[in-house]
């Protein structure tokens, strides 16, 4: 054989070896690219070097998977079947006297809503916001210069598995305006429920006329994704395509073209969460216009205070119509009392100011239970004893309460549940020592009386001074309460009936907690106070009171339990009040064998309510309307 006779075979062999690489390259040119596909979808931009989480997944599959479990990912989603948690089952719901009907048409989610003049219109859900506690829905509205997304009046409450009206979940008095909360996603939710927000208000001069406002809104990614905490990833993704660059980065221990939150100091680390979990204004305020067009300027790794001014009790209101707009969100001593103010709480804490506390000291983004985002080993006291080890060695010696009891848990005293979220009460993130005088004079719930609901702040001051003050007067009773109630009235009863709306909400929730039933001697007073709270003018407070009553009366006689279950906090006032009177009667009828003798001033000997005392306390309410959405 000659060389030439071998040549075709050699060529064929070379061609065979080249076949796979060439075919792969050609095939990839035709392949569906998930990253490119996502970048081309509506609302998505790839400006400012954002690349989206799908680009991160190819190199960081484990981190991507652990993030994908979180409720951050599902904070904003398109209204697609796998994303919508509400029951669009065609059944009508009646709330605050009007009816709506959530239903489906194939993959479309629709909501029939009442209109003026007894008409009905059908709104199609375009976006779903939230997925853990509740999910809100937005419809797309076409305007001359663009489209925007407007909030629909019903939300799905995940815990209760029922529809609720927005008027009944925020902290505000009853209001007949069914469309009161039809806010625009493009200038509200977009900032903190997405990554790389660019609200893109087309023409700022139209802001004065809501019906003319137009938007060209985009986000780097719907929901809170990788780049919210790690910063825009374009430069990193490009640089790390080079294997030599990757191994160089491995040698150095960290890539310098992306933010690693674990390598940041505690201020910058806290800022990552605080950019959203800390209500704020652009700083200086003149940046508001720029924010509304190109979005927030803070990027991970920055100092937050160079971009924003976290709201405080002293932040001047932006509107003359509501001078206490921001002050309402804080207790009298400046402690935040709403969710989404965790940054303010943490940065006011001694553990942060004098130590190295950061959000990541307790929370994790890539592990633990997504509900709370805390590793199992840091649940409960261990969050604190990881630093305060000496206390952890003998908890009872510090707490003076039985080990395992509510009073012996670090968080219940140092991070009590005093913060209102939508229809739920959360822990304060201002980690500090309770102080009866400070709390009482600030109109702020006090950790001791959140459990010992039949005790006064003076009683708390005495006990605290004996246990932790060395009997030297370190802990004092308040000189007076902001609501003017006499100091010999138990703090919980005074706050629940005479406090402002946030106080009432906090105590309405607290009185149903397990620890209260143990710590409080007079169970009858708890129940009578909660039934009295069902008359409250704020529907969300009524809801919390009904929930607490339901928990307290889980073992009550059947008629009482049935009456509690039937209470509807959104029913017309006359119906609710009649129902509450029935509850008073049911309670009195069955209380004697359960509670012995009544000892509270709000309960008579026959377990009927002492309405004169209750009304006197209710009359101490200031009447100042608090209206807080999110």
């Amino acid at each position: 054989m000659t060389l030439s006779s071998h040549l075709p075979m050699r060529l064929l062999a070379i061609l065979a070896m080249a076949a796979a690489p060439v075919t792969v390259v050609l095939a990839l040119g035709y392949c569906h690219d998930p990253v490119e596909h996502e970048s081309e979808r509506a609302l998505i931009h790839r400006q400012d070097d954002y690349v989206g989480s799908a680009a991160c997944a190819s190199c960081h599959p484990d981190q991507h998977a652990s993030w994908a479990r979180t409720f951050h990912r599902t904070m904003t989603q398109r209204a697609e079947p796998q994303n919508v948690v509400g029951a669009f089952d065609g059944r009508s719901v009646e709330l605050f006297g009007q009816r709506a009907r959530p239903h489906r048409d194939g993959a479309r989610f629709l909501l029939d809503l009442p209109t003026a003049g007894d008409g009905v219109r059908t709104a199609e859900v375009a976006l779903a916001v939230g997925s853990r506690r509740y999910q809100q829905y937005f419809e797309k509205i076409e305007r001359p210069d663009g489209e925007c997304f407007q909030r629909l009046p019903l939300l799905w409450h995940v815990g209760a598995q029922r529809w609720m009206h927005l008027n009944g979940v925020f902290l505000e008095p009853d209001d007949d305006n069914w469309s009161k909360h039809a806010s625009i996603w493009n200038e509200n939710c977009i900032f903190c429920h997405n990554t790389g927000a660019r609200p893109g208000i087309v023409d700022l001069t139209t802001r004065a006329d809501p019906s003319r406002r137009a938007y060209d809104s985009h986000v780097g990614e719907l929901g809170i994704a990788c780049e919210a905490c790690h910063g825009p990833g374009g430069a990193h993704a490009r640089a790390q395509q080079d294997p030599l660059a990757r191994y160089a980065a491995h040698q150095q221990g960290v890539a310098t073209d992306i933010v690693h939150p674990g390598k940041l100091d505690h201020e910058r680390s806290t800022a990552l969460c605080g950019q959203c979990h800390g209500q704020r204004l652009p700083s200086p305020h003149e940046r508001i216009a720029a924010w509304l067009q190109t979005g927030p300027t803070f990027r991970p790794g920055n100092r937050l205070v160079e971009h924003v001014e976290p709201l405080s009790r002293d932040t001047p209101s932006l509107t003359e119509d509501h001078p206490t707009l921001f002050a309402d969100r804080f207790w009298g001593d400046g402690t935040a009392r709403l969710t989404a103010y965790e940054l303010q709480g943490v940065t006011q804490s001694p553990c942060y100011a004098r130590g190295q506390l950061a959000c990541s000291s307790c929370h994790v983004m890539h592990g633990g239970d997504p509900r709370g985002m805390i590793e199992d080993e840091l649940r409960g006291d261990r969050a604190c004893t990881q630093c305060h080890a000496a206390i952890g060695n003998d908890v009872a010696a510090h707490t003076k309460h039985a080990v395992g009891s509510t009073g012996s848990q670090c968080l219940d005293c140092h991070m009590p549940r005093t913060v209102f979220g939508i229809l739920s009460i959360h822990r304060s993130h201002r980690i500090e020592v309770p102080d009866p005088r400070r709390d009482g004079e600030a109109g702020r719930p006090h950790a001791c009386t959140l459990c010992h609901a039949d005790r006064t702040l003076a009683w708390s001051a005495q006990a605290m001074d004996r246990w932790w003050g060395g009997g030297k007067g370190r802990y004092q009773a308040p000189a007076q309460r902001p609501d003017g109630v006499a100091l010999d009235v138990p703090d919980a009863l005074a706050s629940l009936l005479a406090g402002d709306a946030v106080q009432r909400a906090v105590y309405a929730d607290a009185l149903g907690q397990a620890g209260v039933a143990v710590a409080t001697r007079d169970g009858a007073a708890l129940r009578v106070a909660l039934i009295a709270t069902l008359f409250d003018a704020y529907p969300s407070i009524r809801y919390l009171a009904a929930q607490s009553l339901s928990r307290l009366e889980a073992e009550a006689p059947a008629p009482m339990r049935a009456a509690i279950a039937a209470f509807d906090h959104t029913a017309p006032a006359a119906v609710r009040e009649a129902h509450s009177h029935t509850l008073f009667q049911e309670f009195a009828a069955h209380a004697a064998p359960r509670f012995g003798a009544a000892s509270s001033p709000i309960v008579r000997a026959d377990f009927t309510p002492a309405m004169d005392v209750i009304v006197a306390l209710l009359n101490k309410q200031s009447g100042r309307v608090i209206a807080i959405g999110e």
């Binding site: 062999a13 065979a16 070896m17 080249a18 076949a19 796979a20 690489p21 075919t23 792969v24 095939a27 990839l28 035709y30 392949c31 569906h32 690219d33 998930p34 990253v35 490119e36 799908a54 680009a55 997944a57 190819s58 190199c59 993704a237 790390q240 395509q241 080079d242 294997p243």
Partner: protein, 141 residues
């Protein structure tokens, strides 16, 4: 000149390896260079890895069976049958896995994946005939 089934199968095995080994190298390069269009699709990665694995393993199976076929299956007709179906399976299965990952959309492979069950059926037929023929040979011996 007509080539024997053993010769054809041996050649297919060699060519299959000649294609599949560079495919593995190519896939490794895609990982090294972090080629997004490959890495971002979990299904594509799985299908092309399966194409690489099946190409190599079936190529080796072709080489082995072609080498021992005359000794194991004295019946020429049965031997030709087994090796023909083995060759078809060895070509169709890796090709199907690869094609399934070319125009796939998210969780579903493209239509090319249909070649895989056809190839697998051929492989089962080949193995069944091989076992039955071998059993008869053992019984008659």
């Amino acid at each position: 000149m007509t080539r024997s089934p053993e010769d054809k199968t041996f050649t297919v095995g060699l060519w299959l390896l000649l294609v599949s080994v560079p495919l593995g190298l190519t896939l490794e390069a895609l990982h090294a260079l972090k080629v997004q269009v490959y890495l971002a699709s979990a299904l594509r990665r799985e299908l092309w890895t399966l194409a690489h694995a099946h190409g190599n393993l079936l190529g080796i199976l072709c080489l082995v069976l072609a080498s021992i076929a005359t000794r194991c299956w004295p019946d020429a007709g049965a031997r030709a049958f087994v090796l023909r179906y083995l060759r078809l399976a060895a070509i169709l299965m890796p090709l199907g896995f690869f094609a399934g990952g070319v125009l796939n959309y998210e969780g579903d492979p493209s239509y090319g994946i249909v070649l895989v069950p056809i190839g697998a059926l051929f492989l089962v037929i080949a193995l069944l005939r091989a076992v039955l023929t071998r059993s008869r040979s053992d019984a008659s011996a």
